[in-house]
Amino acid sequence: MKKNRKLAGVIFENICRFFTIISLIAVVLILGSLFLKGKGLITWEFLTTEPLDGMTKGGIFPAIFGTICVTVLMIIFALPLGVASAIYLVEYAGTGFLARTIRAAVNNLAGVPSIVFGLFGVGFFILFVGRNIDKVLQTGLLFGQPAMLWAAATLGVLVLPVVIVSTEEALRAVPLSHREAAYALGATKFQVVSRVVLPQSLSGILTGAILSVSRGAGETAPILFTGCAYFLPRLPVVTIPYLNIPMINPLDQFMELSYHLFIMATQSIDAQATRPIQYGTAFILITLTFILNLSAISLRIYFRRRHKR
């Protein structure tokens, strides 16, 4: 009897271990195959030149540039809004009905499928906001068409829950006693938030920002219709008149790594001929998101350890 129970325990443990190992093997296989097939392709030339000969040769520089531009714009949209939202939730809202509703909305927003954000970007940002700006400013069809601005806004909405949740976590990690001490010295609520709570939670907020950049850089569905271009002969850069300073042009379309990979894998005339470039693009994309993710995870571990002490 006792022996059977022990045996059942051993079997159970090993089944769980086995399932964990399968999950890990999946990770290793994905990374390994991309690394093996992609590493030989990564040259300086591949990173810094434009696609040539119908995408069968050349590099992916415009796609890398576009990815960086759109994620920078995205984080400009999402970070202030998300941080302010989290500050309200943690420091001001309490635990009432409104706070619970906001929290439910944040959780729901995190679960909205990315393609729905794509539809929303087209229906709201481009056709509603963009077209109405055009009407008011009398600019013809300048804002009411797919552009980097709207792609970044759509991605910003998508990563908003990531920013909010990680900022919330960071704010909650600040001990209550610090707030109380500041109040006892006569500080107002905003002084407490801005001078005691925020400086201590900066690293947590940074973690959230990095995670959301990595999430935004890897998403494809929201930008399919809101601003991505298959191929652009120019970079989305505009020179400011009189000052001669080049600036990202948010009203231009752009190339993006994940979209580039999608187009080359599914819609190029000769998918086999561009396969090496596809692996190269996938390798660059995954390296980018992994560096971001790893730094976020290690930052979080460091941050938690420091707080436990």
């Binding site: 022990k6 059942a8 325990g9 443990e13 089944i15 769980c16 086995f18 964990t20 999950s23 890990l24 990770v27 994905i30 302010a84 939202s85 500050i87 001001y92 809202a93 909305a105 959780n107 729901n108 927003l109 679960g111 909205v112 499928p113 990315s114 393609i115 954000f117 794509g118 539809l119 087209v122 229906g123 709201f124 908003l160 829950p161 909010i164 001490a181 500041a182 010295l185 006569g186 500080a187 107002t188 905003f190 002084q191 400086p199 850089a217 890897g218 998403e219 494809t220 399919l224 994940s258 999608f262 894998a265 599914t266 994309l285 995954i286 998101t289 992994f290 993710n293 995870i297 707080h307």
Partner: protein, 349 residues
């Protein structure tokens, strides 16, 4: 020491503020208006007004998520509902067509391009379920095992090594999983099972399950670890072995959290776009064969919206499909949210 740093900070700043707004003493003695007391009161008032506006500003930001959810709701349904004006409601189920033998049959076809568009949602919904349900089953088995392993079996060191790896799986862009399904997994599955189509619902389901394994694994682990130690100790005291404790005490105690995780995973599976777009073959067929090519709701939108004229019947129909997906996932999320909240209240976390 963190705490002293925070406090010093405040003290220093208070010292700076007060003298700077207090006028020099010489003037204070001359005029009654600018006594230090009045200046202090004025400063207080200024702070109060400032606080008021800051709170209102933060409040507006806090509402952002609610507003965005509402806007998504309004814009999807407002556009999607117009499909009912352009297309007869019955058409969303099926269309009467004349088949090859000349008989009139009721067919479930999604074929918006053509002389007379056919807008049956049946093949799309079936396609979505044919990918999402197997994906959820696979991910539940693997994710549950991983979650239990991480929570109860693994040692601390092993856990700290494996957990980031599982989290990394969640961080892989879905386009890359889709690309690998398209370029390698499809061929491997075809050679193994000798399927007719290289890209089919099963390949898509395997790809999608990779996305939701981390979701189920992490929530399961969190749930089991959140169960108070009293329950474990009571079970051990009664002579239960580790696996008996886990199987008969911890999993039943955390069943609501695990259910929520599975529902959440299912929501992700239905909403997943890029993997199914690349891996399922994209043929809108009414079938229950898992090795057949299918076309999901998400892939239909992603594949067709780019080439459709704004304001056409197909455009509205695509928004209707989007509204359907949104409704599906909204309810799955809502139910899992309610379950988790109940569990939190029960376990008093």
């Amino acid at each position: 020491m963190l705490s002293t740093r925070g406090i010093n900070h405040t003290i220093r700043d208070e010292r700076i503020i007060l003298p700077s707004t207090t006028p020099p003493r010489k003037e204070a003695s001359l005029s009654l208006r600018d006594t230090p007391l009045r200046a202090k009161a004025r400063h207080r008032l200024k702070l109060k007004v400032q606080e008021f506006f800051i709170e209102k500003f933060l409040f507006l930001n806090g509402l952002a998520s609610i507003i965005i959810i509402a806007l998504i709701f309004v814009f999807l349904f407002r556009t999607g509902i117009k499909a009912f004006i352009e297309i007869k409601p019955l058409q969303f189920i099926g269309t009467h067509i004349v088949d090859f033998s000349g008989q009139e049959v009721f067919a479930y076809i999604w074929q918006p391009v053509g002389e007379q568009g056919k807008y049956s949602l049946i093949p799309l919904v079936l396609g979505s379920l044919l990918v999402a349900i197997p994906a959820t089953i696979i991910a539940t088995i693997l994710g549950l095992g991983t979650g239990v392993y991480l929570a109860e079996i693994a040692s601390r060191r092993v856990r700290e090594l494996i957990k980031p790896a599982v989290e990394l799986l969640a961080g892989i862009p879905t386009i890359i999983i889709g690309f690998l399904c398209l370029s390698s997994l499809g061929t491997i599955i075809q050679n193994l099972f000798h399927t007719t189509f290289r890209l089919n619902a099963f390949v898509g389901a395997l790809g999608v399950s990779l996305v939701i394994i981390p979701v189920i694994a992490t929530i399961t682990e969190d749930t089991i670890r959140a169960i108070p130690d009293d329950l474990r100790e009571a079970a051990y005291a009664l002579g239960a072995t580790k696996w008996e404790t886990t199987w008969r005490v911890l999993i039943p105690a955390g069943i609501s959290g695990i259910t929520a995780a599975i529902l959440l995973g299912m929501g992700r599976a239905i909403g997943e776009t890029m993997i199914v777009l690349m891996a399922t073959g994209n043929a809108a067929i009414v079938t229950l064969n898992i090795f057949s090519s299918v076309r999901t709701m998400t892939a239909t939108i992603a594949g067709e919206l780019g080439a459709v004229a704004q304001g056409s019947a197909q455009y509205y129909a695509l928004f209707l499909v989007g509204a359907t997906i949104f409704t599906f996932t909204f309810f799955l999320n809502l139910v899992s949210e309610i379950i988790v909240n109940r569990m939190r209240a029960k376990l008093k976390l």
